[in-house]
Symmetry: C2
Amino acid sequence: MPKNSEFIDKLRSSGLRPTKQRLKICEVLFKRDKTFHFTISDLAKNISEQLNQKISLATVYNTVHAFKNKGHLKEISINSSQSYFDTNITHHHHFLDEDTNELIDCDNDVIEKINVKNNLTGKKIKSVEVLIKVASDNQNQK
Amino acid sequence: MPKNSEFIDKLRSSGLRPTKQRLKICEVLFKRDKTFHFTISDLAKNISEQLNQKISLATVYNTVHAFKNKGHLKEISINSSQSYFDTNITHHHHFLDEDTNELIDCDNDVIEKINVKNNLTGKKIKSVEVLIKVASDNQNQK
DNA sequence: CAACAGTTTAGAATAGTTATAATGTAGTTT
DNA sequence: AAACTACATTATAACTATTCTAAACTGTTG
């Protein structure tokens, strides 16, 4: 479980000033032993409930984007109007439960390594992401 | 190249009334020989320019969602605030060019069939989608 | 501690999408 | 073919997630 000084290092070493707000957000995001998924509004809610503290919504957005750009968070795009973020920045894939809109990490053994055989785009591959959508069998079509 | 009567059948057989507006949208979406990707605003623009006609934006949204729910269109989620739709409803994957935000179909030979070895969710797999993000090599981190 | 660049903030602005409620229309019944 | 009914369309308002703005504040450097 990282200490506060580790968060300061983490921020400094990625060129971000360790402000009070960013350190609070680090506590909420990186102080647990398990990684997890969240939306911006989840996070804002957690900050005010868990820490009993108020951080401007704009700052929450700024910080999450800064963390994402520095590689401390990953953004996962699902078919939804909201973005999900993931504190697990290792390479992995996801299940999306369409009944609950919940995102679930795939363990490494769920899918074999994906080999892109022909990249005809002439550009460099930045990432290869798999999303497995699941739902109850009796689920009606939307 | 499908004729108008085929669109009427297509709509009727999926339980949608063949209205003037829906037939116009069918023309724009399904009358070409190639499949393509579009956003709602692309489509609205095409309708007014290509057909020199006005369809209410609400109707464009309703129709695209109806077509999607009936399986005539697929929705592709990329990391963006906008949704892309695809007239290619066969199973396939995508490249996303991060320089241009353009979506490019993967041919079947780009990726081997993906085998989900462990589905621990206890639910039925509805889809397995791969998104390969590409960019110029010299691209700066955002 | 002065100076400055980076950060935070509340609130306004924006963009994409959905809801509303009145009007119109396709298909069915008589 | 008139009447009926359920489904569609429409303009516009409302909503939601996100970004912008510009003023106030703060961490860092010299």
